[in-house]
């Protein structure tokens, strides 16, 4: 005689043609031919309720809220506490305000060309409010000098990227270099991966291109943001958990042009300049990061929106281009690539 659970498995696993084959009937040598005492033998066993951890009828996905409630009541459980608080920080702002718009073709056009001259002209026109910010910073920090700040910013930039390559990751160190807004973007997807990053040289000296300040909550609570342009030569390689290269190259140096926003809480006596944001212009086309073969499911086939599997255009290492976004949603977007 088949047990009920055996029957269930047979119907589940045996493919249709097998059903016509007579399933071997279990003949037990030690089974009594007369089922007269069977019922009484059964009564001898003290019934206990055995837990079934794979009971689909108990899966929370298949239960309605009312059913969940009654099941929890059965077991004498309290309803789960639902936390609806939102955390917020007052030590940094939530975004880059009035962000800098990088000129198209920056880093490619020569100053002598028509486009290059135009760019310089528009830049000068936008600078007046940046000067106000610099003056504001000086009211809190008398020794502040824009030309001295740029190399200092580069140190922060390099230190952050070096900190990201640490194994294991020193999260406390990273927190001193980035604001609370940028922190999740920096550590996103860094888990179980290894980064190799090297700063080779600055192609152009870093310079401050933009500055803004704002007050939050009260008038004296002031935050300042400075955008610094970095045109540098870097090496980047990202490895997966098994030490296999998944992005970049450990031997290829690439030119990277980046606009990084630094923020300082001016009203805070102990405020420090920290990386806050990276500016990604709208016109920038992001090359696909991942060249893995993907399998589309039947529903997805009708609307294939994922363009990951498309081949990327060959990257030209000679020409500088803007970096990829910090949090572009692709699998390994931690760092800039040219």
């Amino acid at each position: 005689m088949l047990k009920l659970n055996q029957l269930r498995i047979l119907t589940k696993l045996v493919p249709p043609p097998m059903i016509f084959v007579p399933i071997a009937t279990k003949t037990k040598a030690n089974k009594h031919w007369n089922p007269k005492w069977k019922k009484f033998r059964k009564l001898k066993v003290v019934k206990i309720k055995l837990p079934d951890f794979y009971d689909e009828s108990l899966d929370l996905k298949n239960l309605t809220p009312d059913e969940i409630r009654s099941k929890m009541k059965e077991q004498g459980l309290q309803p789960p506490k639902i936390y609806q608080e939102r955390t917020f920080d007052i030590s940094s702002t939530s975004d880059a305000f009035e962000p800098y718009v990088p000129p198209e073709g920056d880093g490619k056009m020569s100053l002598i060309s028509v486009g290059g001259v135009k760019q310089v002209g528009t830049l000068i026109g936008k600078k007046s409010r940046s000067y106000l910010t610099v003056r504001k910073i000086r009211t809190y920090d008398e020794d502040f000098d824009v030309s001295l700040f740029a190399p200092e910013a580069q140190d922060i930039y390099v230190n952050l990227h070096k900190a990201m390559t640490d194994v294991p990751l020193d999260r406390h160190k990273i927190r001193t270099l980035v604001t609370e807004k940028a922190y999740p973007d920096v550590v996103h997807n860094l888990r179980y991966k290894i980064l190799k990053w090297d700063f080779l040289e600055s192609i152009e000296p870093p310079r401050v291109v933009h500055g803004r300040h704002t007050d939050l909550i009260s008038k004296d609570n002031i935050f300042a943001q400075l955008t610094v342009r970095f045109h540098t030569k870097q090496v980047l390689a990202v490895y997966d958990r098994f030490g296999r290269l998944i992005h970049g190259s450990p031997i290829t140096a690439k030119d990277v042009l980046e606009y990084v926003v630094f923020e300082k809480h001016l009203s805070n006596l102990y405020g420090a300049w920290r990386i806050h944001h990276k500016i990604i212009p709208e016109w920038l086309t992001v090359a696909p990061q991942d060249h893995r073969t993907l399998r589309f499911d039947k529903e997805a086939e009708s609307t294939p929106t994922d363009t990951k599997s498309l081949p990327s255009p060959p990257a030209d290492s000679q020409e500088p281009s803007l970096s990829t976004p910090l949090a572009s949603g692709t699998s390994q977007p931690q760092l800039s690539t040219a």
Partner: protein
């Protein structure tokens, strides 16, 4: 805004039970189907095997250029099936050393409850490998380890004559599997290695190399 406030205020001091939102869906390998910990955020002693899933967190050093590509692997387990570990062992041994596709194909024809257990775990492990462990092709996997563990044991009683009692053990089984990338090894059992000249010589050399020389520098 006022409307929302008024509706909250009108509830008064009664605590309102909202069963509609149970935020987490618990995986089947959890021992409890409904979490006890959510109401009080207390630390609970973790139950079940911990060393096996910890292997999935190991990060290997970056490979040099020209080095042979290190195969990916994923360790997976499912705990506490109501099935005898002794019976599950036969199915676990059967799939060991097979490619994933071959294992799944053959399990369809095994008339045991254990076949369902192994198949379920293999499919979950395969999905994990592709989603989280950077495996490109899901068929390019093989079962490098497959074994059984002893799970929960519930003790029961059976009435005997003259006020005596018999003891029944209701056993639960754990199932562990490791999938590795690439083609399967020819031979996964060391005792089944061919005993010909070159192999034995190689073994001898390995033994000598691993020998520890005492009182040396």
């Amino acid at each position: 805004m006022l409307k929302i406030f008024s509706s909250i205020l009108s509830r008064g001091s009664k605590t309102v039970f909202t069963p509609g939102i149970v935020p987490i869906s618990f995986p089947a390998q959890n021992v409890r189907t409904i979490s006890l910990s959510s109401s009080r955020n207390e630390w609970e002693k973790p139950v079940g095997p911990r060393r096996w899933p910890r292997q999935n967190k190991k990060v290997f050093p970056p490979q040099e250029i020209g080095e042979e590509r290190r195969p990916a692997f994923v360790c997976h387990m499912n705990l506490n099936f109501k099935y005898s570990p002794d019976k599950l062992w036969y199915v676990a041994c059967m799939v060991r050393g097979m490619t994933i596709d071959e294992a799944l194909r053959q399990l369809d024809y095994v008339k045991k409850k254990g076949a369902w257990i192994v198949k379920k775990t293999l499919l979950e492990a395969q999905e994990l490998a592709v989603k989280e462990h950077n495996v490109e092709f899901k068929s390019n996997l093989w079962v490098s380890e497959s074994f059984v563990g002893k799970g929960l044991v519930v003790h029961g009683i059976r009435r005997h004559a003259r006020m005596r009692a018999g003891h029944i053990t209701y056993r639960y089984a754990h199932y562990f599997v490791r999938l590795e990338e690439g083609p399967p090894l020819e031979n996964i059992y060391p005792h089944k290695l061919p005993r010909d000249g070159p192999t034995l010589l190689q073994q001898w050399i390995e033994e000598r190399r691993n020998e520890r020389i005492y009182n040396s520098v």
